[in-house]
Symmetry: C2
């Protein structure tokens, strides 16, 4: 739809009536000055969802499924009604629509439903009547009219999916930062804000620890080529545009550096080099829902391997018990856990066509006296595991090496 903009506001942007009014003003400004048609997607206000989950657990320790979705969906329903009221008090024409009213049809997997299709008839009708549509994020309905929720990051997903089906010019994601930075501004105060970035780079940044948007929504945006604008709900700074790669973009070799301190390195020394060992180890971890990030297997000598991998800190305890069962089965040595590590990553679509980028990274770290414990690479990312005490120094060295600060 020509001139259509989808705007998505998270819970912290609608936490109080005052913030709600700020957003209403912002929406009306975009409508009036730039003559845009507008669909707004909002999350539940502030801590509402956490509060509701606590209430649910108070009456049922195993709260979940259909009834939890019935409960949680009320959070966004409150946001949309209040925002529509705020807009109309300023003379605007707005209408709120719940997930079911918006026409978001999902599968029946309560608390983590997937969108099957969207019937945009109602939204299109309201837009054609000159109304601003305020849609509830995070929710939908099944074909049998049951209320479902989409799981973590669900409101982003609603925004991207609506922008796709309505063919919006852009999907604006409002957050508490002014966009995507080439490195963490808390570490490098002169960090550059990235003006344009590709979906793939954003996906790698997300998996490398940057938390602007969940991978799931980014994947959908990439799949349907929805241009995203990540920007602040508190300022009018231009933000970061996320879109498909083009020639101009490819000139930049490294777009960002990121670090992730939420890592534990696990090493199993002297694993017998027989077929199926790795499959068994990582199958056992997967069955316990333990997400494994980097995996390194050293060269086999004399039929014996070392296998190292990283898991998230919160999975340390279940990972220990899986390792204990592995040790018994394969009569291998006791696994070594190193909880004091961090992962440094550089991400950039230009790596595809520029050689030697990884080598520059290793050299820069070496110049700072930082030892590399593990290395892992993808087409547009290089990650190194280092001692956690070296993480901040490493980010500074890499930002300097690749010119990511002003």
């Amino acid at each position: 739809m020509k001139n259509l903009v989808v705007m998505k506001f998270g819970g912290s942007s609608v936490a109080t009536p005052e913030l709600m009014k700020n957003i209403a003003r912002r929406i009306l400004k975009l409508q009036k000055k730039e003559k845009k048609k507008i669909v707004v997607v909002v999350s539940a206000p502030g801590k509402t969802t956490d509060h509701l989950i606590k209430l649910a657990c108070d009456v049922n320790r195993n709260a979940g499924g259909r009834e939890l979705d019935m409960l949680l969906a009320t959070g966004e329903q409150q946001s949309i009604a209040l925002l529509a009221l705020a807009i109309s008090s300023m003379g605007g024409k707005a209408i709120s629509l719940t997930g079911p009213q918006v026409g978001i049809i999902t599968d029946p997997h309560f608390t983590k439903a997937r969108i099957r299709q969207i019937h945009p008839g109602r939204i299109e009708e309201e837009l054609s009547r000159g109304r601003i549509v305020i849609a509830a994020g995070f929710q939908g309905k099944t074909e049998s009219e049951e209320i479902t929720t989409l799981g973590r990051g669900g409101s982003d997903l609603t925004a991207v999916a609506l922008a796709s089906v309505l063919e919006a010019e852009v999907c604006e994601i409002y957050t508490d930062v002014e966009g995507v930075y080439s490195c963490d501004p808390r570490i490098i105060p002169t960090a550059k804000k990235v003006e344009v970035i590709t979906y793939d780079e954003m996906l790698e940044l997300a998996s490398a620890g940057a938390k602007v948007m969940q991978s799931r929504s980014m994947e959908v945006a990439k799949k349907f080529q929805v241009p995203l604008l990540i920007r602040s709900s508190f300022t009018f700074a231009p933000g970061t545009l996320v879109k498909e790669a083009d020639m101009e973009l490819e000139e930049v070799v490294v777009t960002g550096v990121t670090h992730d301190e939420n890592q534990v390195k696990v090493t199993i020394p002297n694993v017998p080099d027989i077929p199926g060992v790795a499959a068994h180890i990582f199958g056992a971890l997967a069955r316990k829902n333990i997400n494994v990030d980097m995996i390194i297997q050293s060269a086999a000598e004399g039929g014996i391997n070392d296998i190292s991998f990283t898991v998230r800190k919160e999975d340390l305890s279940p990972a220990r018990s899986v390792m204990e069962s592995i040790r018994k089965k394969f009569k291998s040595q006791t696994a070594v856990f190193q909880p004091d590590v961090a992962k440094l990553s550089i991400v950039g679509i230009g790596m595809r066509s520029h050689s030697g980028v990884a080598a520059r990274m290793f050299k820069a770290l070496a110049r700072s006296g930082i030892n590399i414990e593990m290395i892992s690479t993808s087409e547009i990312k290089v990650s190194c595991v280092v001692k956690r005490e070296n993480a901040v120094r490493g980010v500074k060295a890499l930002a300097k090496e690749f010119g990511l600060n002003n």
Copy 2:
């Protein structure tokens, strides 16, 4: 439906997780011990509705209409989900249904919608699967899928309407009192709890100041002959049954005495006795939404009348300005306002066939030295306006006269 019971719980009964669990236990007990099919209707928890209205007014001083209903409907939706979770944590099988899911179709008058019809298919299906149905009170949807609310007392109305369409054995209304009392237990500690009462008597008691249930729901219960059981959600006392009159009932002359201190008496002296004066006065009051209760016109002498009536205290100020405009138009004397009055009423279906009941009331008041300022009667009610300071003494005298205490 055979063996079906509708149970309705108000907001104070579901205000905390602990209370929620108490109710869940009570529902399961009824299901298991007495083998009942059960539909539960709940209101929003505690002060939720007030809190939501405050939020709405914070963003829009004139909050109302569709968006207010969108907001308020979330309160009951939270209650039904939490109650269903509480029941399932105790091993019961329950399913929550919103007003729209329950199939309550209303007209499109937001914030005060009227029920047009109910499609009970979904409820019947869930009941036949052995589930306890937890239905959201106070809400429904229009034919175009808009969420509506039913206005004050809406949850009672939902319960009565569902009990009617499902042909329930009884509709149990749970409150914070143990039933209907023949007089206010705070004044007469030995007040009798009424075991059986007719719809008409309950309607008269409601309009006379007793606040167990709103008239609107009582009228629907009477129209569709839904037996109501008013009882406490905190005890297992048997409560008060409300049903149509039968022979046994008619032996009781006076079922209850009630008093209402929220009254102001207004007198316009020397109104000219010309046609249309009364219509003009009460038309002007009605246009300002001022509810007039008792109206007395004294006999005309020499073409001059006194007109007296009562209004509720909160209408005192608008009533004054209406009276001032009347004074100018008819050049009558300034109206006299007496804010220190109270209304005493006796109600009983037996009055229809027993003469002299009003006289016994007047004599009893006279014996206590209480002067009567106004009198008004209906087929099953006699009301007297007295000085407020005499109200409590009057209730005691009437309770004694008609044997309403133990």
